[in-house]
């Protein structure tokens, strides 16, 4: 069967009794269980339906063709909105595949109709896969945006005392996070006119050579700006591991707890300690 005839026949199939669009909407609505309003679904699918008719009308069953750009754009929009609203991939793809089910040939269908349907099925399958891909892309975008937000959230710089800032590090310290920590710390040293910084690694589960190197670089950068850094939160197991690794912290002051580090900084900066705080 020639491609043009097939697509003409498909347009006929799709417009045959004027109820295709309605059945399509009903099928999708049933599978989404009312989590999306009927009006919105109708709007989405009628746009898609019209675009599909136009694309078939212009000829061709190749979904990658220029004629299908409108259809593809609508599907991308649909996938994005589904992904944002937390629908599953199945619930997203059903919007496309339900259209296929509606047109399924019956016992009365002519051989020609069945052949046309098979062409349509192939087209719908391709469009369905395209929808899933767009869905997955959107999800990935959301995930990477969240990872970035987490990066920002997980590295607060807090002011502990006049002239003393602290960074409590929690979790895995990799190059990307160290970069953020360093930038934030150096900036807050300037903003708060602090001369002392405490980097607390109580929440870092493993300190390997990469983490140690990142810490050393941060301390050196702070020193270049005239600030003194203290590293706190070195637990017994971390201390023993660092010794075995052979990592040298040189003349950098390290303390077991944040409280010890603060006491040390205050004593050396000459700030008045509350009575009884001196040991």
């Amino acid at each position: 069967m020639a491609v043009e005839r097939a697509s003409e026949r498909l347009v006929e199939l799709l417009t045959r009794d004027g109820a295709v669009q309605e059945q399509w909407v009903a099928a999708v609505a049933a599978s989404l269980g009312g989590r999306i309003s009927r009006a919105e679904l109708e709007r989405e699918l009628s746009d898609l339906y019209q675009a599909l008719l136009q694309a078939l009308d212009k000829g061709g069953l190749d979904w990658q063709d220029e004629a299908y750009s409108e259809v593809r754009a609508l599907l991308v929009e649909l996938s994005r909105s589904r992904a944002r609203h937390g629908f599953t991939p199945t619930e997203t793809a059903v919007s496309v595949f339900a259209g296929k089910d509606v047109l399924e040939p019956t016992a009365d269908s002519t051989a020609e109709d069945t052949a046309a349907y098979l062409q349509l099925a192939r087209l719908f399958d391709a469009l369905g896969l395209f929808t899933i891909e767009a869905y997955a892309r959107t999800r990935e975008e959301i995930i990477s945006a969240q990872a970035e937000q987490l990066l920002e959230l997980s590295t607060p710089v807090v002011k502990l005392w006049e002239g003393v800032v602290a960074v409590p590090l929690v979790g895995t310290l990799d190059s990307a996070r160290t970069q953020v920590v360093m930038e934030k710390l150096l900036q807050s040293l300037v903003d708060s006119e602090s001369e002392h910084a405490i980097i607390d690694i109580t929440g870092v589960p493993a300190v390997d050579t990469e983490v140690a190197q990142h810490l050393l670089k941060t301390v050196v950068a702070a020193r270049l700006m005239g600030a003194e850094c203290t590293i706190s939160g070195i637990r017994p197991q971390i201390a023993q591991t660092l010794v075995a690794l052979g990592v040298q912290f040189g003349d950098i002051v390290t303390k077991a707890t944040l409280a010890d580090a603060l006491r040390h900084v205050l004593q050396h900066s000459g700030a008045a300690l509350p009575s009884g705080g001196d040991r």
Binding site: A206, D208, T209, E210, Q237, L245
Partner: protein, 139 residues
Amino acid sequence: MTGPRVVEDEQSVPIGSNDDVVRARQTVRTYAQQCGLSLVDQTKLVTAASELARNTLVYGGGGLMRCAAVRSGARVGVHAVFEDSGPGIADLDLALTDGWTSGGGLGLGLSGARRLVDEFELRSEPGSGTKVSVTKWAR
């Protein structure tokens, strides 16, 4: 002399990104906890695994970690193998020297990892990849 070695419950973690290094570390930590290693030994083994996994990624261009519980007589421990098919190491002694690095690190990863575990075996030939096996026994 202790009995023959029995390897149990092996698990593989492919290493192809920084996230995989974290995953390898978590896997080793789980095994270390299950085998009853002390907190210090857990931390040492996990740190060694972190170094070796990162070497696999950075110098070997990615590879595979296999982790398992080992039993030898009454002793239990954790055994981990890091394998890659990267360029390999030309001079093993030089690679195990403190402070020597072919990249931008501190040069303590490989030599430090050797000091952190009880058994350490490094096999490599230029062009045919690198295989590092480590074992840490529960005390």
